[in-house]
């Protein structure tokens, strides 16, 4: 892959205004698929969650999942959208083996929800209202594995293997209006927007929303337009690219920054941007060219003859509206107060996209302070090191279990970090890691006293100082004891015992 020329980010912003648009796909966590009673399960054996509908076999008839419709309406309402009194499905025709029918059932001219908005808070405190053009229902496609070639990517692959378990999983696609005025905050806005959508779908309980599993996927549209001198009309919109395969909050931000720098370098050099999809590569932090973007005409959309219109009653819409959880901004204010975090601490959590994780960890029994400490500390550190999302590393239940072990005095902080490391490495539950690595603190005073007496005997000068009232001298003895215990002791208890023995 040839390396793209990149313009310095600040320079790019001086010359051009970034114009954004997002398409976020949300996989719904219904029990069954959108149009078939096959299970909607992640991680089953290949091609076991399929019916004739999923495989597009002749004569198979799709039937709409009522729960998926209810979830879609709830999501539409939470996005401030109007719900269409009548909406219908359409066939989007294309040839690619990720769907066996050679078309995707989607919605085109009559989406279920339209015309909403979402308030997004940026790390610098700026509040941006993103308008939502529409949210429509559709089905997910199957999963392809490319075999052969050197990289496992499609270029150079000899053949592909298809698993249709995901084909037909219910999706809602949320499409924003064109977003102007993001300016230098464009990458942060992209991340904050996706994070806000994630918070909304999690609080609605309609999606597992794990980006690393593809439950939530973002396609980011971006174009640049040259700045014009004040008083002159703005330049026309530039040609846009659509970056796909962006599977973490972190990548959303990086991909936008990259595309701004790449497009600016091309435009400043007198080149033109090609309207195309770009693939984000997490490993290299770059995008590469995909296919030229088809016009909507080329999909030859037409009304799906196998499905009838969806016409939700006003009663149903009001029932779902009444059941909506509090809006994200209110929820944040409430959580911040409940958890007792400072502005800085809370901002740290929000910027890390960790609201959901901490909520779940607190629900699993941890104190808010402990949940925050582990998620924004050690777990985020390991996640950054490996370029993955913190939520992908460890479950909220496991973090709560580690916090409980610390609370009970079984672990100190240092040991707890080792336990987390073991859990992340797949060594089992926190308790299993404690057992297998032998990590619990020594709570047997007898063993501690023996080590303390040894340390005091070998450092008589320190003993003398402590007896003279120079209590801070005890540090040397505590250090020696912790070392003898291989760190597996409660330092506070050791200190108590050292002072006791020294006095004795």
């Amino acid at each position: 892959m040839a390396k793209d020329a990149l313009m310095d980010y600040d320079k790019a912003l001086e010359l051009f205004e970034p114009v954004l648009g997002f398409e976020v796909h949300v996989e719904l966590n219904t029990k069954t698929k959108m149009f078939s009673h096959a299970p909607n399960d992640f991680g089953s054996d290949a091609n076991t969650n399929v019916t004739p509908v999923c495989l597009g076999l002749p004569g198979a008839l799709p039937v709409v999942n009522e729960q998926a419709v209810r979830y879609s309406i709830s999501l539409g309402l939470a996005l401030g959208c109007s719900i269409a009194p009548s909406s219908r499905f359409a066939r989007k025709n294309y040839f690619y083996p990720d769907l066996a029918k050679n078309y995707q059932i989607s919605q085109y001219d009559e989406p279920i929800a339209f015309g909403g908005s979402v308030d997004v808070e940026l790390p610098n405190g700026r509040l941006v209202t993103v308008s939502i053009e529409r949210a429509h229902m559709e089905e997910d496609a199957g999963k392809l594995t490319h075999v052969g070639g050197s990289t496992g990517r499609i270029q150079g692959a000899e053949y592909s293997l298809v698993d249709y378990n995901r084909a037909g999983v219910p999706l809602v696609e949320i499409v924003t209006d064109i977003i102007y005025g993001a300016e230098a905050d464009a990458p942060e806005l992209a991340k904050a927007y996706v994070s806000t959508i994630r918070d909304i779908v999690v609080s609605l309980g309609i999606s597992d929303a794990k980006m690393e599993r593809g439950n939530l996927r973002c396609d980011a549209n971006i174009s640049l337009r040259p700045r014009t001198p004040e008083g002159q009309p703005p330049a026309p919109l530039g040609t846009r690219t659509e970056t796909k395969n962006v599977n973490s909050l972190r990548s959303v931000e990086r991909a936008i920054r990259y595309e701004i720098q790449r497009q600016a370098a091309i435009l400043a050099d007198g080149g033109t941007i090609i309207q195309e999809t770009r693939h984000w590569h997490e490993d290299t932090g770059r995008t590469s060219a995909g296919r030229p973007k088809s016009d909507a005409d080329d999909y030859r959309y037409f009304p799906e003859p196998d499905l009838l219109p969806v016409q939700p009653s006003a009663e149903l819409i009001e029932e779902l509206r009444a059941a909506l959880p509090e809006p994200p901004a209110e929820r944040r204010r409430r959580l911040k107060a409940e958890w007792g975090f400072t502005d800085l601490e809370f901002q740290d959590v929000v910027n890390g996209g960790l609201l959901v994780e901490i909520t779940e960890t607190v629900a699993a029994g941890a104190s808010p302070a402990a949940a925050r400490k582990w998620w924004t500390g050690e777990i985020s550190r390991i996640a950054n090191l490996n370029g993955v999302e913190a939520s992908a590393l460890v479950s909220a239940q496991d973090v709560a279990a580690v916090a409980a072990l610390v609370e009970a005095g079984t672990l100190n902080d240092k040991l707890a970090r080792q336990v987390l490391e073991g859990v992340i490495a797949g060594e089992g539950s926190p308790q299993e890691v404690v057992d297998s690595r032998g990590l619990a603190v020594v709570s047997d005073d007898g063993a501690l006293i023996a080590a303390i007496d040894d340390a005091l005997a070998s450092q008589p000068d320190v003993l003398a100082k402590i007896r003279d009232g120079k209590v801070q001298a005890a540090g040397a003895v505590i250090g020696a004891v912790m070392k003898a215990m291989r760190g597996q002791a409660d330092a506070a208890r050791v200190r108590e015992l050292v002072l006791e023995r020294a006095a004795g």
Partner: protein
Amino acid sequence: MSEISEEQVAHLANLARIALTPQEISSLTTELDQIVDSIAKVQQVATPDVPATSHPVPLSNVFRPDVVGETLTIEQALQNAPEHDDNRFRVSAILGEEQ
């Protein structure tokens, strides 16, 4: 008057992955043009107060409860596949991408 051009037919054939000879493109262009003309007659009758109809049956909201039902076995799922490998359908590599 010609509504349909040979370029449009060639483009559609490409989208539909149907290989057409120049002769076929030419004859299909004529035929499609006649079809478009015939359909156009409907527009003469369809005044703005007649809503567009996508379904002739006046039904809506036909739903299925979200309950898991029977699925195919792996053998059934793969039995019509020209090639399969590791319980998955094997297809030739196509330069393209997921939608």
